[in-house]
Subunit: 419 residues, 2 copies
Amino acid sequence: MRVEIVAVGTELLLGQIPDTNSQWLGEHLAANGIASQFHQHVGDNHQRIVLAFRTALARSDALIVCGGLGPTQDDITRAALAEVMNVPLDRDETIVEAIRAMFGARGRTMPENNLLQADVPRGASVIPQTRGTAPGLICSLGRKVIYAVPGVPYEMTDMFERAILPDLVARQRADGTTSVITSRVLRTWGASESGLAEAVGERFEALANDDRVTIAFLASGIEGIKVRLTARGDDHAHAAALLADEERRIRTLIVEKFGDIIFGVDGESMEDAIATRLKGRGLTLGLAESLTGGLIASRLVGVPGASAWFRGGVVSYASEVKFDLLHVPRGPVVSAEAAEAMATGARSVLGADIGLSVTGVAGPDEQDGQAPGTVFVGLSLGDRLEHTALRLPGDRPRIRAYSAISALDVLRRALDRDA
Amino acid sequence: MRVEIVAVGTELLLGQIPDTNSQWLGEHLAANGIASQFHQHVGDNHQRIVLAFRTALARSDALIVCGGLGPTQDDITRAALAEVMNVPLDRDETIVEAIRAMFGARGRTMPENNLLQADVPRGASVIPQTRGTAPGLICSLGRKVIYAVPGVPYEMTDMFERAILPDLVARQRADGTTSVITSRVLRTWGASESGLAEAVGERFEALANDDRVTIAFLASGIEGIKVRLTARGDDHAHAAALLADEERRIRTLIVEKFGDIIFGVDGESMEDAIATRLKGRGLTLGLAESLTGGLIASRLVGVPGASAWFRGGVVSYASEVKFDLLHVPRGPVVSAEAAEAMATGARSVLGADIGLSVTGVAGPDEQDGQAPGTVFVGLSLGDRLEHTALRLPGDRPRIRAYSAISALDVLRRALDRDA
């Protein structure tokens, strides 16, 4: 059963709104073991919608069409469905009554154009509305099927769960397919995408012809590289077991080559990893930031409950702020010595158990004779005071973002080393 | 010239990441007067990528393909291009050298699989990389063309602006399409989309049947509402004159209804507006941030040359940091008094001409008996000390982001008032 999603609306082509519907549908189809191999966006144009439907019917078994079912002149999905099915549109009196009743209940007069929403391609069945006015449609074409739902996300998700998913599952059963898909993302910082691919190369090759387990790499820019494992099993327990087994193998290969670069799984961010460790050990953190300019503090404050372990930070952007507020000795401020003094200063003036600092050159110009990308991380933890020197690539925003996650990773590794 | 966007990546079909690339491309094609009539998503599967390309070539004149150009085994866009063009892949030694040099500059050994990125379909031309390793490709097929770029957004946008857009514009000219489109975005903070639509309603109606000038509203979430004006003229001077005329009318209508809510145009951000004003008057700024946690500092440091006017900030997340470091009197820290004391403290300890502060409740829980969304902005400027009380909607990330831009807008208006 191959499902194709067709999102209808000129606003999608013009980039005026993001297409969250296709993303949501893709995620929920996959979670139910149903493959979606193609998505399309098409504008509010009759001929092009018909072309998009015909293209999708040629390469997929089922279409989910989102949008174009409303009451205005640019809502033309119904007419395009009728053309593809080669049937007329009939006005459905049950729907007419339902729409009239909905306006009546709100004490409003119904504009006549709302009745367009009661037009149904002959032979299609109706998915009743529970949240809005436009009903959904299920249109059979031989062994294939088109589901049409409104583009309003909470109407679409309701109809998907109530009518489309059960129908798809029933069709899959009739086809004899009952598999379940599950996946896990391993989040890494510190290795390149190509390096990771090489580390797990043997598994990648071994799985090339395996239709049960797949590995993919997602370069996520400033958040590192994600390794996604997906397993298809006969039922939930089977899929989970396949996934757990593959995760064990892949983790071993990655750790053997790169050490402890996996900082989290799925939606877990670097700051979540820090929060777990600090909270678990009852430690508080204070920051001194120069080129990152509050970026690290901002990420940490984004974690709900941060007040339990985050004291605050000093954004010492001007050198005098480093000297006067953090008691950094006068001298070059892009240096290992300055980073260590900033960490000591932050720990002291913020009354924290740990001081973490970043100083460096974000560019575009050099500073203190140092090139853009030269960054020093300072850490004052227990009776240790240390620094890490980094050379980071990219333009100003990337150097700042890389500095922020790199500094947090320095802290994560130090906390794990001491644990 | 009909452009189709094809985004490649199984992660898009599975809904694991949003397709921001197609949205960005759609918006930027439209802004340049180039139609995109279809978008497709396809997974990392050779046969299906080939099918998606052939489908797109049948109904569009130009394809922009995003993704699948990386160094790993699942990056197969190059091979699919070669199949559609019916040519072999040749290894390009110039690209090999560029990739080797990039790894060398970072002091890292290049994993061999990176050389896959140097494979070029015979006859294609190369879009050199300036930000990563995988080059882009321009593949001509008769009168049609496929542009292939990496899926990493900042590499994609760079190649679009540097190579694809100029090539598309040249092709349009060669086709005899000579009208010129120009557009301008007015950036506002403080009015709703429907309020703005009402303010400019008379122009919106007047332009309904005008095929030269259009107005669109783009709700941009935490960055306010954008009003985009687009004009199509016979040449650059004509388009510019139409645009300037419309901008004058629209600005007048907005200012009449809402006052000074337009803070910038096009890519100008709120922090750019602050930078211009502070630099122009030779003033320096210091911050005290509580719930925003460094978000404001981080935005300001994002402006190149910020060191000329930005001293730094104190992220006083724990109450004790407010009392001890900023000398805020002990008492409730979510209050107008605390905001003013924080502004005074920031100005003093950071040695700045202006102190700006934010304190409030980001949620999810209330604090000091105040509900989430309760925010106070403090400002110490010249001999004035004042506060602004805000009630902001949304969840924790939105309240924090709204607080940051609102505080900067308070400063912008104060600087303009005093100018």
